[in-house]
Symmetry: C2
Subunit: 454 residues, 2 copies
Amino acid sequence: MESLKYFFTPKSVAIIGASHTPAKIGYTIFENFVKGEFPGKFYPVNPDTTPILDQRVYPSITAIPGKVDLAIIAVPAPTVPKVLEECGERGVKAVIIISGGFAEIGEVEREEEIKRIGKKYGMRIIGPNCMGVFDPYNKIDTLFMPGYRLRRPKKGAISFVSQSGAFGIAAMDWAAQRNIGINKFISFGNKADVDEVDCLEFLEGDEKTKCISMYVENIKRGKEFIKVAKRVSKKKPIVCLKGGVTESGAKAVSSHTGSLAGSAKVYSAAFRQAGVLETKSIGEMFDVARVLAYQPKPNGNKIAIVTDGGAFGVMAADAAEEYGLKIADLSEELKNRLRKFVPPHALIKNPIDLTGDASTDMYYDVLHTIASDPSVDGIIAICLLQIPTISSKIVGVLTDVSRTYKKPLIVCMMGGEFTDLHMRMLEDENIPSYSTPHQAVRAMAALVEYYSIR
Amino acid sequence: MESLKYFFTPKSVAIIGASHTPAKIGYTIFENFVKGEFPGKFYPVNPDTTPILDQRVYPSITAIPGKVDLAIIAVPAPTVPKVLEECGERGVKAVIIISGGFAEIGEVEREEEIKRIGKKYGMRIIGPNCMGVFDPYNKIDTLFMPGYRLRRPKKGAISFVSQSGAFGIAAMDWAAQRNIGINKFISFGNKADVDEVDCLEFLEGDEKTKCISMYVENIKRGKEFIKVAKRVSKKKPIVCLKGGVTESGAKAVSSHTGSLAGSAKVYSAAFRQAGVLETKSIGEMFDVARVLAYQPKPNGNKIAIVTDGGAFGVMAADAAEEYGLKIADLSEELKNRLRKFVPPHALIKNPIDLTGDASTDMYYDVLHTIASDPSVDGIIAICLLQIPTISSKIVGVLTDVSRTYKKPLIVCMMGGEFTDLHMRMLEDENIPSYSTPHQAVRAMAALVEYYSIR
């Protein structure tokens, strides 16, 4: 999938349909380049050559001097074939067609035409009817929503491939707010050319992508998908959310993309066969992807739970059993070592309840002690920061434990502003944190599952 | 449960163990009163009568002039019986014992002693080993965490009763951040006297409480609980999260509170019998409580889904089927009316997909039209605010629809800062909003379930 590299590392980009009107799609995309840090050349194209944002405008792609690797097309659908033909003649390698008005509204022949043009010139096409791509490393951003509406996430290790553009941008905005990093986001819309199989193959070789998450409604090339996913999932985890898993949902898919959703059971079986982790909701997909992208392989399914709130320990234990994890048996020798660090009323069992008298130092000692013990494969650290004896240094403590031992560490903290701030700080250290014990344990279970099926 | 009123509307309060040392429990509780708006009298009590926060300190409760309705005790456990005896002699009606060091650490006799003293004087006791109460209406706040760590939620219609103090305060802080209102929070700790049954009976008659949510690990008075909950749940919804529903969780409960968790099946059966809605996680409990507190009775289980992102419609449809809701059949006549408001490529089925070209006006027309149609019992409005054609006026539109028709309206919006802001605005209008279609649909299903079992 070498050919997909031009979508992310083009030396030069043409924005065809760059608009003079602020807030229009073709304006915002061009503005992303003007205000952004894209290191290559970029050219706005519009028959009206009045400058846009003080930049020289080209009447057509043929008027641009030098090579163009990537063209981003945001012109009305009927004009797209003509423009695409010009791109082909101009030697463009990759095209993102943002414009809608193709198969999704029944204009099947128009979509076939762009497929033919793409093939004729050997151009790869993302779209039509899509949001395109976002890549904070390579500074490519075709999302046509203003920054105040749609914050862009920081650099990270999760790549997200979405059949739905709306879901994709909502997810980017959501991730940005939570300081969750993204490597590549690809919205492929009608997938006239580039589809989920191509994306998988491309991301397989993309070193910075540590976890691939996908939202799909239908997969046309089923056999290829299974074959490729099987290979890729041995190298890096693939997390998938399938829309249209019920009769009602499948009907909605048929309206939404004009495609058949297919039987949920068939998809689930295919995912299992291909080593793809299937999740059931948006929240679950990101919860799972975050831990898979950043946390190491657990040696087994025996977890230790450390908490400063007994009830959160109880709920984590409930969730552990629900998700097939084992509560590690702590040896008497280990318990005796732990008892030295805590007040007499702390509960040295598993979950380990430091109680409301927990301190940052106690977490330091207890976490280091249990993380170094071979009976524990992974740790859920629950830190309710409402307790004033826990200082902001807890972030450093958790980071230290996470780096010292090659064991998964997942954090749970629930609260408001102060807590959210610390969750964002943890995200910078690649330690995923969750508001509820259920989410934290679900994520740990996914980590165990991935490495056991791989 | 008239006797519990003194916990919330005392005319005078003694804070026994008010401390001179900032950040100490007895300091923070007293500070809450000094900085707060409690309309009655309050007296700090400490043998060291050096003023605290410029207020006169009383050496003992007997030294306080005039009546004392409520005493808040935060002194070391061994001193509690003596202090409690003085409260009894002084005619105190209600006592909150914050101090730990009783049954939870094996000091069963000490706990029995305070029970005896309470009974002897007819005093009601919350605690020991608890966070006490928080009531933004009556300005009572015994939470001993500073405001920057633990934001206090605004006034609202949800009351939350928690066996776990840590969970309680994490939940208050979480709710505050999301602008979710609370009526009364009660952390009853070891429940030497006041327990979940008493709380239910008290909240039954509390007009401002529209939904009761509970976290319990064990219920000692099982029969009374079922009897009372059965009666209360006919008047207002009760949402319950039970900690220790698995073997691992039950073991953790036994460590945490020294009590037996009991069989999950027995509890589930009891909850069903009592009309209590059982939820499986923290997130789910609040998702459900919010809609039950504020949204009206649905006439049935037929919902309409309106979205500006097709995939979110698909996922909502999937969730609807999963949770037993029906996707309403829209009549041709209704569809024809709807078509007038939307562009030709919008999908007028159910889910209704306004597409990325959705506007605030479109939502206004479409929502009013479907809300007024008898074929629709409830509406899930998905508004992805990344789309710039949707203005902040969407909050007014949703509020207008919610107030005009007596039908449940639940909102789904996923995103970052801009989206979160609008979610908080909706909360002020008593319209619950959720990040994911699954959560929104789960909440709607709970509403349908509550009114069908009632």
